[in-house]
């Protein structure tokens, strides 16, 4: 065999980079519209009374969450896997025709499922369960896409040259297994078209409708075991996989501690799943589960901070890079937001705090400092690092990236601070009593008072979206510029006169 460096094949990675950008824009744009609908309800009718059904807050809300989770984030996870996977396993996708076809099929089926999901959510076809809104035909599609991802991943692992799995691969494997388990069990449902009436009629009603296998409290328990851990295995685990690869690569520093990564990984795997019940505090779920959920949520600080501190210490002695490189800024702030968000979550999971926080905007704020500050920043960092390498071109503009960093950071800060104030204000007003023991405020009082914070949140979201459009433009210009080798060489010897 000829002894030359491996030529990695980024065909599939490029495809998923594209959907990361496009679905990111779609999801965030819908988010901004939703934010302004709460501040200015007239926007619900933005396309007129006839189309109000489709521009309405409640119809759009699942579209926003699903577009950013299953669109933006999952695309980012797939794109980085098809990049990182080859490099840390020291094997090219070009070496296996089968794996290449599986990868491409994975992408195209993913597109079909996304299109079906968008269409069905606009039409109001939903099971109502958060982040599991899809009805059974789409669920089957999701499962097929996920199996293809698994085949792709384990296939590549199977033909690897580097025998030891790098830390990022641990996290990608966990992502695959975790989502597979959660999604399957939470979406157990019976299609109602299978029913037969006493009169012998079959196939009654919509063919796509189904009914959950679980009822009431059990249904809630399974849903939040899923809902919380979809956050774990969609928003935490694969993003940690990314930072373990991209931060050392971009900074040229080795991971600070292998032992700390071991502790964080296995700790996160064991602890995270217990915490789902913190979405159900003071509900009708058995008390011992609520207590377990609170306790484990607090313990969860350890493995989460383990990863984040490991990342920050990786920069030890190299902090001047934070000032010099906007990309390092993004990643360092991402791990800082990860620490911040994983401290805020456990605080909200303490029962007495949850009594105020639950059902309010503080929860929305918590989700967003996690996803905007941590997930969004990290996925964009990954793509910024990948773009020059997969397209073999210089990054279009570093100063645009730096401007984007500050605009988005400001956006995130406006977002979570306004939601803190809004959430705590509303939580306190709901429970306020006057000196005679009567409720101090009617419900609408606790809504109108939030108006200024809803406006600030909308502006924060808009700034983040503007930053994301700058990111998209930067990537587009990078992609469409002339390749490096075609350009005039800067330091070439002048042609002899």
């Amino acid at each position: 065999m000829v002894n030359r460096p491996l030529e990695y094949d980024y065909t599939v990675a490029k495809m998923f980079m594209l959907t990361t950008v496009v679905l990111g824009i779609v999801g965030m744009l819908i988010g901004v519209i939703l934010a302004f609908e709460l501040a200015f309800p007239g926007i619900n009718l933005i396309l007129g009374d006839k189309l109000a059904e489709y521009t309405n807050f409640s119809r759009l809300r699942p579209l926003h969450t699903d577009a950013v989770i299953f669109g933006f984030t999952l695309s980012g996870v797939f794109a980085t896997w098809y990049y990182v996977g080859q490099r840390v396993l020291k094997v090219s996708m070009a070496e296996s025709k089968l794996l290449m076809s599986v990868g491409k099929l994975h992408f195209w089926l993913y597109i079909v499922v996304v299109a079906a999901a968008v269409f069905s959510l606009f039409a109001g076809v939903t099971t109502s369960k958060e982040y599991a809104e899809f009805e059974w035909p789409i669920d089957i599609g999701v499962v097929v896409v996920w199996v293809l991802f698994g085949v792709s991943m384990f296939g590549l692992i199977g033909i690897r040259r580097e025998k030891s799995l790098y830390i990022s691969v641990w996290y990608y494997i966990a992502t695959f297994l975790g989502i597979a388990m959660l999604y399957l069990f939470n979406n157990m449902e019976i299609p109602t078209m299978l029913a037969t009436s006493p009169a012998g009629e079959t196939g009654i009603g919509s063919w796509y409708h189904s009914v959950s296998m679980y009822s009431g409290t059990n249904d809630a328990l399974v849903q939040w075991w899923y809902g919380h851990n979809a956050v774990a295995f969609g928003f935490t685990v694969p993003i940690v996989a990314m930072i373990y690869y991209f931060l050392p690569k971009e900074s040229g520093q080795a991971i600070y501690s292998y032992k700390l990564s071991l502790l964080s990984f296995w700790g996160l795997m064991f602890v995270y799943l217990w915490a789902g019940g913190h979405h159900l505090l003071y509900s009708t779920v058995p008390d011992w589960m609520q207590t377990m959920a609170s306790v484990f949520s607090v313990i969860l600080i350890l493995p989460s901070w383990g990863s984040a501190i490991n990342m920050l210490l990786t920069m030890k002695g190299q902090w001047q890079q934070v000032a010099a490189s906007p990309l390092i800024k993004f990643m360092v702030l991402a791990s800082t937001f990860y620490m911040f968000s994983t401290l805020e979550g456990p605080i909200q999971a303490i029962k007495s705090v949850n009594a105020i926080a639950h059902f309010t905007d503080w929860i929305v704020g918590h989700v967003h400092d996690g996803v905007l500050g941590w997930v969004g920043f990290m996925i964009m960092s990954a793509l910024f690092h990948m773009a020059p390498r997969v397209f073999k071109r210089e990054l279009y503009s570093k100063s645009l990236m730096a401007t984007q960093f500050w605009i988005q950071t400001l956006g995130v800060i406006l977002y979570f601070t306004s939601m803190w104030i809004s959430g705590i204000t509303q939580g306190m007003m709901w429970r306020a009593h006057d000196e005679f023991g009567n409720l101090a405020y009617s419900f609408i009082d606790t809504v109108t008072v939030l108006h200024p914070y809803y406006v600030i949140r909308g502006v924060g979201g808009l700034l983040y979206l503007i930053g994301f459009l700058m990111f998209a433009y930067n990537i587009y210009k990078t992609m469409s510029s002339r390749p490096v080798e075609e350009r005039e060489l800067q330091n070439a010897t002048p042609m002899g006169a």
Partner: protein, 230 residues
């Protein structure tokens, strides 16, 4: 051990799976052993109520309204008795929600009327000044899908033993039988009878005419569902 696992992806994956599946086994299985049992006074949804529940879900009402009263004085003062597990026995899916942009609806049937909902859905801010809830005017023209609700009734009666056409004990010691049709045609006529009762309390002439002609606008089914929440 860890170094060995990192060189053996299969065993690594098995290890990860066991570690993440553990919590689910401990937390979820025991609760399933004692399946949801209804409390006295909880009856299955009628055909029209279930149709309304589908409309509630279709429009993601649960994105802004919870159906879970927590055991705090401030909540029981505002919404009524705190929720009991058995009250949700026939809720597939559960609709507790996770955000209260609007008030809780667990017992809205106790303090709002058909008339109130009709006006409110047409123009929320006309009933609750400065409300940020959007209007749901298309519910007055869209027609309800009774057949799907009927198919769901058949499914839950067969698979989960939901007691349709069987007497269910009520709080006052009486019993109530929720009827489920023997055919699509009968299910529709049962739903229409229920719809007539609701439409009688409504003002919208188009809705009244539609019901008189045997059609059920979505708003009628939705109000039937909201009135059933007690």
């Amino acid at each position: 051990m860890f170094h060995w696992l990192e060189k053996h992806p299969f065993f690594f994956a098995v290890g990860v799976f066991l570690v993440i599946a553990f919590a689910g086994l401990i937390e979820i299985l025991p609760n399933f052993a004692q399946a949801s049992r209804p409390v006295i006074g909880t009856a299955p949804y009628s055909t029209l109520e279930l149709t309304g529940r589908h409309i509630y879900i279709k429009n993601s009402c649960n994105a802004c309204h919870s159906q879970l009263v927590r055991p705090f004085k401030s909540e029981t003062d505002r919404y009524g008795h705190y929720s009991l597990s058995g009250e949700y026995a026939y809720d597939r899916p559960f609709l507790w929600g996770s955000k209260r942009t609007g008030p809780d609806l667990m017992r809205v049937g106790n303090y709002r009327t058909t008339d109130w909902h009709e006006n409110h859905m047409k123009e929320p801010s006309a009933v609750v000044p400065s409300s940020i809830m959007p209007a749901y005017r298309w519910l007055f023209t869209n027609k309800s899908d009774i057949e799907t609700a009927y198919a769901e009734q058949l499914t839950v009666a067969k698979n989960f033993g939901v007691p349709y056409n069987k007497p269910v004990s009520m709080k006052d010691g009486s019993s109530k039988t929720v009827k489920m049709g023997a055919s699509v045609a009968e299910a529709k006529s049962i739903a229409l009878e229920e719809a007539k009762v609701i439409a009688a309390d409504m003002r919208d002439q188009d809705v009244k005419d539609a019901v008189a002609n045997g059609q059920i606008p979505e708003i009628v089914a939705l109000i039937a569902y909201l009135n059933s929440l007690k």
